[in-house]
């Protein structure tokens, strides 16, 4: 007896989230298959695997290929950080740590650009806009924008590049992950401290990996710092950003270094 599969009938039971497929075979055989699956969305022609596929926002890269789109306003909530303690090189002395803490206090007091990595911990939503040849990241705090070039270029010749608080960043997509490589940090401008311990130097190398998760509602970013002058082993920590509600307006926060009240607050012991 030859089985002939006729039309499949699928029903979706919302209350128990089960997908029932009833297949009717010619010749009198009746088979009922009960699939347990976390199915979502409309029923009918879609299979359960298609229904499970997250519909991430996409855009085109410089080569015209479709890639995930991380554009949007992203917030780092109170529970969005996983920061292990860094393993510092034996060459880092307590005096080095104190020196960099003082440099950071100076930068904060005089409204210097906060730079990377500090701006990635912004207390305001980050504005990330992913163009085809450049992704720009803007924080509200006093800082220049981060420019991540995605047009296939390499890093600027170090002999030509003047180090900045954000460094020289290039990026590329590998599957669903945006990988950013940054060098060229200024060792003595802006805030130099790194979450978990350590500080930026002229030889610091940062690799970031950005990936959308939870149907594009979250942005997972890992930061890996390598610097033989600071870290015993590469230091990695992670942030998980939430997408800000719409409409959220990006903003730049003013910082007045000549505000006496502000200066007294930052400089003296808390009162």
């Amino acid at each position: 007896m030859t089985a002939r599969i006729e039309d499949a009938i699928a029903t979706y039971d919302i209350s128990v989230r089960r997908f029932k497929i009833i297949r009717v075979f010619s010749g009198g055989l009746l088979i009922v298959a009960l699939l347990l699956a976390p199915a979502f969305g409309p029923v009918g022609a879609q299979t359960s695997s298609e229904l499970r596929q997250p519909k991430l926002p996409t855009t085109l890269d410089a080569a015209g290929e479709t890639v995930p789109d991380i554009s949007g306003m992203w917030m780092l909530l109170f529970d969005g950080a996983n920061i292990p303690r860094a393993q510092l090189s034996p060459s880092v002395t307590p005096n080095d740590v104190i020196t960099h803490a003082r440099m950071d206090a100076y930068a904060m007091r005089w409204c210097n650009y906060v730079g990377t990595p500090f701006l990635m911990q912004s207390r305001f939503p980050l504005d990330i806009q992913q163009g085809r040849t450049e992704t720009i990241i803007v924080a509200a705090e006093v800082s220049t924008a981060r420019h991540i070039y995605t047009d296939g270029r390499g890093h600027v010749d170090p002999a030509q590049f003047e180090p900045t608080t954000n460094g020289d960043s290039i990026g590329q997509w590998e599957g669903d992950t945006f990988i950013v490589d940054t060098v060229g940090f200024s060792p003595n401008r802006g805030l130099t401290s790194i979450p978990g311990g350590g500080f930026k130097t002229a030889t610091s190398h940062l690799v970031e990996r950005y990936r959308l998760t939870e149907n594009g509602s979250k942005l997972a970013v890992t930061f890996t710092w390598s610097d033989p002058n600071v870290f015993l082993t590469p230091h990695t920590y992670a942030f998980l950003y939430d997408r800000a509600p719409r409409p959220t307006w990006a903003r730049k926060v003013a910082c007045n270094p000549f505000d006496d009240v502000r200066t007294q607050f930052l400089s003296g012991a808390p009162k």
């Binding site: 554009s71 450049e134 803007v138 954000n166 307006w249």
Partner: protein, 207 residues
């Protein structure tokens, strides 16, 4: 606009028409120096202030440094070599209602495409560059962005409408030239705590 979604543009034109003002200028003209500058007279090279309050505002569009423009589906970001950044929202949102927002030196901008031209409307400017309060002016800025010469040039027409300041809308145009594809954004470093930065009068070297 730019099919590649971003670019660095540098202003070409600075020959601006003069606006017709509804009332006398807000500040009196600067008095000319009482005597010509002599060979050993000091120059004032800076007022010592870094722009950390965003006071530069829309003057960033007139700055000699290049602008970096990144264009996406829902937003255009225009950044300068300092902390100033403009956000032009293309996601269909309306301008914020009057009185519902604090001032911003670059205002709040929304835009939409009209064929090949990007129309942008901006409100929410402060009453003065140093105004630290929530007061905003009634000024509206209308801009039109259009590419020409195969995308090598960007023309931006600015039209200011403010009945309290101008007798009639004041319009001027800047033309920007696109920099080579491998250009990268600089960072204009400024440290208000640096004594050399804040020194307002630099005496010339004595031979």
């Amino acid at each position: 606009m730019d099919p590649t979604g971003s670019g660095s543009f540098k202003a070409l034109d600075d020959n601006l028409p003069k606006p017709e003002l509804a009332r006398p200028p807000l500040t009196p003209p600067v008095a000319p120096p009482s005597k010509p500058h002599g060979p050993l007279d000091p120059y004032i090279v800076t007022n010592g202030e870094c722009d950390t309050t965003g006071a530069q505002g829309l003057l960033m569009m007139d700055h000699p440094a290049a602008l970096d423009i990144v264009q996406t589906k829902n937003e255009v970001v225009i950044s300068s070599e300092v902390s100033n950044v403009r956000f032009l929202y293309l996601d269909g949102r309306a301008l914020p209602a009057s009185g519902s927002y604090d001032y911003s030196t670059v205002g709040y901008s929304v835009g939409r495409w009209d064929g090949d031209v990007l129309d942008v409307e901006t409100v929410g400017f402060p009453a003065s560059a140093k105004d630290q309060g929530p007061a905003v002016t009634d000024a509206h800025l209308f801009e039109r962005y259009s590419l020409s010469d195969g995308g090598k040039r960007l023309a931006v027409t600015f039209t200011w409408v403010d009945p309290k300041l101008f007798l009639k809308p004041w319009t001027y145009t800047y033309t920007y030239e696109k920099l080579p594809a491998n250009s990268y954004a600089f960072e204009e470093w400024c440290d208000s705590g640096d004594p050399l930065q804040t020194q307002s009068i630099v005496p010339p070297k004595q031979n």
